[in-house]
């Protein structure tokens, strides 16, 4: 038996030693925390900066923005889990989805597959960030809504597969209109008059967003006088006196006292009209299930009215989230195969995605024809509006810088009463500069 006194005594945990150990641990944790989360599951054989492989199947990361409808996240995860040829991890992204996604793409650790409103931007396409997807459609190409395919194409190549069609529209409560003795508005004058008559007590006549419509009414106002963001040959499409006059009328509406302003939720949520704060609201197709639940039969839909009985036409903006493949991902072919499986071949899931949660119109015409919930009532009226009065939300060459310039000008016109012609002239200068940059 060894002599106990000869064994080395355990070294005491001195203050210096404790601080040294804890400092080392802290620095290790700090460095370990510096990784980034792409939503991709850890894979034992992951490639650098891109998709790894789990066994023989590749691993793909797919990003969605946060949808408001309950159950959508579980549905998206369910579709991904059912894909047999890759392990797909879904990241559900709340908050400023586009900024987070753009940053991750620039940093080189973006997802393999992601959705983007109306397809990728012209800068993403010209910067080589997104892969061309022409070969995915095959015979199904003629079945997709052609205007959406055109919106997501550049230089003859397709860069996004439309998932579902969404639209904005004017919702009103027939009971309130009937009580006030007004008809659904067919011209802008009708709308102003109806909003005034419907404003009583705590109820306002119209809600077009807490900014008085600056965020969502640019397109409808342009179309209401027969103008557009850009012409078909990509020139400034709004440099005409009628446009300035129409925007000027929005300032009158803003100061009329008939608009609901400062509501707890904005135009994309139906709470303002369901809580009785307004009689008419500009909102989206996705709100119809909630409206039906809260208001029963007491709601109907129509388009943004034409400017006058002789000028312009009624309109609704339509758009679609497009499924996009990261061209700099590690497994582009696997990502394209997954997109084809989910948004071209898998019509059952497309139908489920379109009508099981909120109301959306499937991007494929044959699938849309199977959407029973869109064949009756208010939903059928909305679909008719898309077919008769639908306009793509904004053209591909309408860059974010052009959008910001227009949004700033419209805000000044609506809220401050700035001179519309002068403001739109400044926007035209910016747009021409942007067109020169992206189209040469």
């Amino acid at each position: 038996m060894p002599d106990q006194s000869s064994l080395p005594a355990p070294s005491p945990l001195t203050r210096r030693r404790f601080l040294g150990v804890s400092g080392g641990l802290a620095s290790t944790l700090l460095l370990a925390a510096c990784g980034s989360n792409t939503g991709r599951e850890a894979a034992t054989t992951a490639g650098s900066g891109g998709s790894g492989a789990s066994g023989s199947k590749p691993t793909l990361a797919q990003w969605y923005h946060q949808y408001g409808e309950t159950g959508t996240q579980q549905a998206a995860e369910g579709y991904a889990a059912a894909y047999p040829d890759a392990t797909v991890s879904v990241q559900w992204t709340p908050g400023d989805y586009e900024s987070k996604l753009s940053s991750s793409l620039v940093a080189g650790n973006g997802p393999d597959v992601f959705e983007w409103g109306n397809g990728p931007s012209i800068d993403q396409i010209q910067g080589g960030q997104v892969a061309a997807l022409d070969d995915l459609l095959g015979d199904a190409k003629s079945d997709f809504t052609s205007s959406l395919l055109q919106r997501m194409s550049y230089d003859g190549k397709l860069y996004g597969i439309p998932q579902v069609i969404d639209m904005q529209l004017l919702v009103y409560r027939p009971s309130l209109l009937q009580a006030a003795g007004v008809q659904p508005p067919e011209t802008f004058d009708d709308l102003v008059s109806a909003a005034a008559k419907l404003t009583t007590g705590g109820v306002k006549g119209l809600f077009v967003g807490n900014d008085g419509g600056g965020g969502v009414l640019t397109g409808p106002t342009l179309w209401s006088v027969g103008a557009d963001y850009l012409t078909s040959d990509n020139k400034v499409g709004f440099d005409q006196p009628a446009v300035a006059e129409a925007f000027g009328r929005l300032h009158g509406l803003f100061t009329s006292g008939s608009l609901l302003l400062g509501a707890p939720t904005d135009w994309s949520d139906p709470s303002a009209i369901t809580q009785g704060l307004t009689a008419m609201q500009w909102t989206g197709l996705w709100t119809l299930p909630t409206l039906a639940k809260e208001l029963g039969d007491d709601f109907a839909v129509t388009a943004w009215p034409k400017y006058s009985s002789s000028v312009g036409a009624p309109s609704v903006p339509i758009g679609a989230y497009g499924s996009v493949v990261n061209a700099k991902g590690a497994n582009v072919d696997a990502a394209k195969a997954y997109v084809k499986w989910l948004w071209v071949d898998n019509t059952a899931d497309q139908l489920d995605w379109a009508q099981s949660f909120g109301f959306h119109i499937p991007a494929r015409q044959s699938v849309a024809a199977q959407a029973d919930k869109l064949k009756t009532g208010v939903a059928a009226d909305a679909v008719a509006l898309v077919q008769n009065s639908g306009h793509a939300q904004s053209p591909l060459l309408w860059t974010p810088a052009s959008g910001t310039a227009m949004s700033d000008a419209v805000s000044r016109i609506i809220k401050d009463g700035a001179d519309p012609a002068e403001q739109l002239g400044q926007v035209a200068t910016t747009v021409q500069s942007e067109l020169q940059r992206v189209a040469g």
Binding site: L31, S394, D408
Partner: protein, 324 residues
């Protein structure tokens, strides 16, 4: 007779690792503690700053490794960009309100709490607690509950008792009620922190000064404050003013969360132009849907220079760091 010679022992030079480690491993321990933070600062602060300066000389859309050198073109664009210049104007208005108001409110609170005989810790905590609240959370409370624009908003409910119609606080620009929302939010969030700084300053003033002032006939109250307390708080006051100005320049969260609208997708953002301080504007240019890192970086460099200039000028004006 010659003195016996003694050979001096030759000093043994320690090995290199021992010299690097220093006496009692001091160098080693210094870097063990400081190293991780230096590494963090280098990776997350200094390299991004240098990279941003590099990007500011390139056309860098949707890339941080650009090849198209544009010289000072991005700087010229930003200095002639009405939106960027307007964002500077927004900052100046904001700073003109928030700096003196926070200074006066935090000093006033500190003076009151310093005089309280009981529950001093309680009051100190009550006023300091909002500092722990997130700007985002506070902005949502202000927007959705207190300054909600409809009839059941808290302030509008109070106004209705006096027969005043509901006010759309964040939607109208004439009158610009949104400034009231912005300024009260920031006051609530930061006044407690500066109050603590002033309290620390007050506790450092020797009581003999007050006794001497009393002997000299100074009346308690305003006279004592003006001739004893305030001059003794000069160093603290200058530090508070410098911090307030820098914080005002860095305003982002409350503007963004109170005034960003649910705009149409693809519109490039529907944030109103009238309440867009520099950081919010640069966020939209560089990190929003534009992803224009060249112009964004040039704007960031210009903003950093302006903040540095203001800070130096303010420091010189207020004689910051100089002894009496």
């Amino acid at each position: 007779m010659s003195a016996p010679t003694r050979s001096r022992p030759v000093a043994q030079r320690p090995p290199l690792w021992r010299r690097l480690a220093g006496d009692q491993n001091r160098n080693l321990w210094f870097w063990a503690f400081v190293g991780p933070f230096v590494a963090g600062l280098t990776v997350f602060v200094y390299i991004p700053i240098l990279w941003s300066v590099y990007l500011s000389f390139f056309d860098a859309r949707n890339t941080v490794t650009p090849t198209d050198f544009v010289g000072f073109g991005n700087y010229r664009d930003m200095l002639t960009d009405p939106a960027f210049l307007s964002s500077m104007g927004t900052f100046i208005v904001f700073a003109a309100f928030i700096v003196p108001l926070t200074f006066a409110a935090s000093l006033g609170l500190a003076l009151m709490i310093h005089r309280v005989r009981r529950f001093k810790a309680f009051f100190r905590s009550v006023y300091f607690l909002p500092t722990a609240c997130s700007y985002v959370v506070a902005a949502l409370i202000w927007k959705l509950s207190i300054f909600n624009g409809v009839r059941f908003g808290l302030v509008n409910t109070v106004l209705s008792w006096f027969g005043i119609e509901p006010i759309a606080w964040l939607s109208v620009t004439q009158p610009p009620w949104y400034w009231l929302v912005l300024v009260t939010l920031r006051l609530w969030l930061q006044v407690g922190f500066y109050m603590i700084l002033f309290l620390a300053g007050l506790q450092r003033i020797p009581t003999v000064l007050y006794e001497a002032a009393a002997v000299d006939g100074a009346a308690p109250g305003w006279q004592t404050f003006r001739y004893v307390t305030f001059p003794q708080l000069r160093t603290t006051s200058v530090a508070v003013l410098v911090l307030l100005l820098i914080n005002a320049f860095q305003a982002f969260d409350e503007f963004y969360n109170l005034l960003a609208n649910a705009g149409a997708a693809g519109s490039g953002g529907a944030y109103p132009p009238y309440a867009r301080p520099p950081l919010v504007y640069l966020y939209y240019v560089a990190l929003g849907s534009q992803q224009d890192f060249g112009h964004g970086s040039a704007g960031a460099v210009l903003l950093a220079l302006v903040i540095a200039l203001f800070t130096v000028l303010q420091g010189r004006l207020l004689r910051f760091g100089r002894n009496e």
